[in-house]
């Protein structure tokens, strides 16, 4: 996993609420056995019509809207546990997803793949949507060490929470499996204390 520190980019606004993982990557695209290539089908059924033409109104098809920061409505990533949703966002080029509320499994999956899930207050996000609506080329900065989010045209930055362990993993590009593997002996002694299983 690549270490993350500061991400500066233009933003893609997606004000829809309750964006579920079936929308992020529909089930029929889950037949792959590798992690790559899911980005092409990100938001497939919102992005393309049934005959494969781009839907002009959808944000990813709008000229002039691009960037590696996705700003979404509340309860992002609910539904299925498919990690493919995080892979699809990352593969498409997103490094950060901002929402006022994330589904639990999704935020674990995102962080496990170096995709930063940044939770900000609902009211602040509404201001971001309004600002981006007027000027889609505004840049935002997400600074992991100081846990701060800021955007051009919005005066005060917002801070976000992230647990210490995850933060240090992301800063070092270290993953949870490395961490768990270093606990093997402890896991074995735990097993020895248990009678059943």
């Amino acid at each position: 996993m690549e270490p993350i520190k500061t991400i500066k980019s233009t933003c893609v606004p997606l004000p829809a609420e309750n964006v579920d993982t079936d929308q992020i990557i529909p089930a029929r695209f889950l037949k792959a056995t590798t992690r790559e290539g899911f980005g092409d089908n990100l938001f497939r059924d919102w992005r393309y019509s049934n005959n494969g033409d781009p839907v002009p109104g959808f944000v990813l098809n709008q000229p002039g809207v691009k960037g590696s920061i996705l700003i979404a409505g509340k309860n992002f990533g609910c539904g299925s546990s498919r990690e493919h949703a995080a892979w699809a966002l990352y593969d498409h080029g997103f490094k950060v997803v901002v929402s006022s509320f994330f589904a639990d499994i999704f935020s674990n999956n995102a962080l496990n793949n170096g995709l930063l899930a940044v939770q900000l207050p609902e009211e602040y996000i509404q201001r971001l949507f309004i600002a981006l609506d007027q000027n889609p080329s505004l840049e935002a900065t997400v600074d992991l060490p100081t846990q701060q989010f800021s955007m051009e045209g919005i005066e005060e930055p917002a801070s976000f929470e992230i647990n210490k362990h995850k933060k240090s993993c992301l800063l070092q590009g270290f993953d949870d499996i490395d961490y768990l593997l270093s606990h093997k002996e402890q896991i074995k002694s735990y097993e020895a204390t248990r009678t059943t299983v």
Partner: protein
Amino acid sequence: MTGKTLFDKVWDQHVVSEITDGPSVLYIDRHFIHEVTSPQAFDGLRNRGIGVFRPKQTIATADHNVPTIDQHLPIRDKLSRFQVQKLTENCQEFGVELYGLGHKYQGIVHVIGPELGITQPGMTIVCGDSHTSTHGAFGAVAFGIGTSEVEQVLATQCVLQRKPKKMKIEVNGQLGRGVLSKDIILYIASKISTSGATGHFIEYTGTTIKELSMEARMTICNMSIEMGARGGMIAPDNATFEYLKGRQFAPQGEDWHLAKQSWEQLYSDENAEFDVVHKFEAEDIAPMITYGTNPGMGMKINGTVPESSENIKALAYMGLTAGQQLLGKEVNHVFIGSCTNSRIEDLRLVASLVKGRQKAPNVQAMVIPGSKQVEKQARLEGLDKILEEAGFQLRQPGCSACLGMNDDKVPSGEYCVSTSNRNYEGRQGPGARTILASPLTAAATAITGRITDVREII
């Protein structure tokens, strides 16, 4: 001193170590895997040059992607075939038991675990699938994980998890005629919304819940995730022990008595504290259906679609308008199956309703048993004949139209009354319009060809 909840008791017993301000290293007793969310995890092990740490604690099956007819033939879809084959190869290489296509134990992962007695009270159980919460019906801490976490479990038999908050949902009283546990959970979801339990682990309790069969309890716990919860559980009791006794992988003989003794300690102490408590009355619950595009958008079957700014997009997708009644609406597809409602009890209920009746000509009615064993039992009891005579198709086990990864898709724009758990846009195929309901409501709808209040025909 405050007491411990059921959840605390099970969780705390499985903590190997804790990280300050971070997650716990949580030991996992049982790990289920399937073809869709495991291949990248096995690749991860290969890249690290390590094996599966405790292969006997992982059980594999093929369910998400498999056809529901002609399972003895090679899978026609190339990508599906390859994915299922990959699972077989991975299980062989890493020494994991596989109940693949054709195996007498094959089926939907959340159906086979309980029916084989692999799922037991007090265990921690995970699977790369959000409906792992189903196993909580036995008093297990069971939750869905992502593929990176599947790799964690394969590599170390542990996951890193933060302890969630605790929620109690109490349902008391007597259920009305024609009201099933599916209606209870759709009702609760409609009250607390699709994100109402995010960050929490639910314990379901109350007199209504205690009266339910194990199958019905599984339906409730199954849909915990539809309210955003990490999982949901029910304290084990005699119904649980009766269900498990004698099953293939349940403890036998002296071990059974010892296990039962420890399972009997699994309940929330009188003075245990929950972060959130919800209470509902069974008499307020009627047969339920959904009108929107998330499982929280549900209403009583004879209700009218509510007016709300949050519905606009959903109603446009569903081709419905606020203020409209769904009762009497023509429907062309009925799907009875999925890890929510595909157990033998569900099939018996459906058969008892359709016996001697005929499905409406405008409806295609599919019944997908949850497992090989359910299928076998259904045939043994003659349910296959009853269903077929009524014009229902009894197929072979798998997830099927629940997520439409195989050929069982609902055509764009058409309505399907479905006993599954999700009605998201495109869930049953691009453009498909899903209406979630209980097996009785689904069966009644298949008979009349219109959305039907089952209470009117029983």
